[in-house]
Symmetry: C2
Subunit: 149 residues, 2 copies
DNA sequence: CGCAGACAGTTGCATATACAATTAAATCCG
DNA sequence: CGGATTTAATTGTATATGCAACTGTCTGCG
């Protein structure tokens, strides 16, 4: 077995990215499937929830919490605004484009909750208690969302 | 605190998808940054490695291993073929489009190895030993890639 | 043989994602 | 005040991803 072959085996057997990305695809699909009847995706529910927690959501702040590129958020917000789930709020600073969840967006969260639970249950079964705890720990390191924001 | 508010807090405080997706973005960026000098993305390295392990890679098999939609793989392979990293191999069954890593693709893996190590180190620091072990366990449940394939 | 159904992949379409470049506005400071 | 810098977000471009619909090929069966 030559050097290159052993490199291939090392990556195949240990790469964190390949495993995390695979798991992400599977889990995202669980939630997307559950939420599909509402025309809502997991990515959008993430944003909706963060915005709901913030009240007034400043894009830079949301991006920090979710570790999202600002350009990504910009377009996601635009799509969700088009659906009437978010609305942009005027601000003193003319550069800013803070937004908030509309009442329609709030009703959507309400309808989404049982669907979210369904996806969450499946994801829990996949990861187990320990997996969830570890995920939580890693996400906290990155300043991710938590109940107290 | 009304019912909807408590739903929002429940999701914000417990959602596996939001955490996993966040972690996935961060970790994917670590590898993408490390691999950027080679014009290679983490997603593509995944495919390259699986194909290298398989020798002759059948799209359906690769999709099963990586839990990827066939349409996603189809396009990724096309891009990588355009780079000269993969080549399609003729097959008895005219429906099939098996592919393999070219020698140029193999040289790319060689150059990518130290870059991969850099990303891997950072990801390890982020997840810790236990995190990695749990990730491995979850990925195995899904028939993900492992050293012996 | 010939056709119905299964199977392997691709194509159309939409969202998610990030980097680089850009626009516009606020702020700093001489 | 006014230009240089910083900040906030958007726009251009490219890849990644998945669902639905489609194309072509194979297979089984009467």
């Amino acid at each position: 077995m030559d050097r290159l072959t052993s490199h291939i085996d090392t990556i195949a057997g240990n790469c964190i990215a390949v495993r995390l990305r695979l798991l992400n695809r599977v889990v995202t699909n669980l939630y997307d499937d559950a939420l599909r009847p509402l025309g809502l995706k997991a990515s959008q529910l993430n944003i909706l929830i963060v915005a709901a927690k913030l009240g007034l959501a400043r894009p830079a702040k949301v991006c920090e919490i979710l570790q999202l590129d600002t350009s990504t958020l910009s377009r996601n917000v635009e799509r969700m605004r088009a659906q009437g789930w978010l609305e942009v709020v005027p601000d003193d600073d003319a550069r800013a484009q803070p937004f908030r969840v509309t009442s329609r967006g709030m009703r959507l969260i309400e309808k989404a909750f049982p669907k979210w639970e369904a996806g969450q249950r499946q994801a829990e079964a996949l990861l187990g208690e320990k997996g969830i705890a570890l995920l939580d720990k890693a996400a906290k390191k990155l300043g991710g969302p938590s109940a107290d924001r």
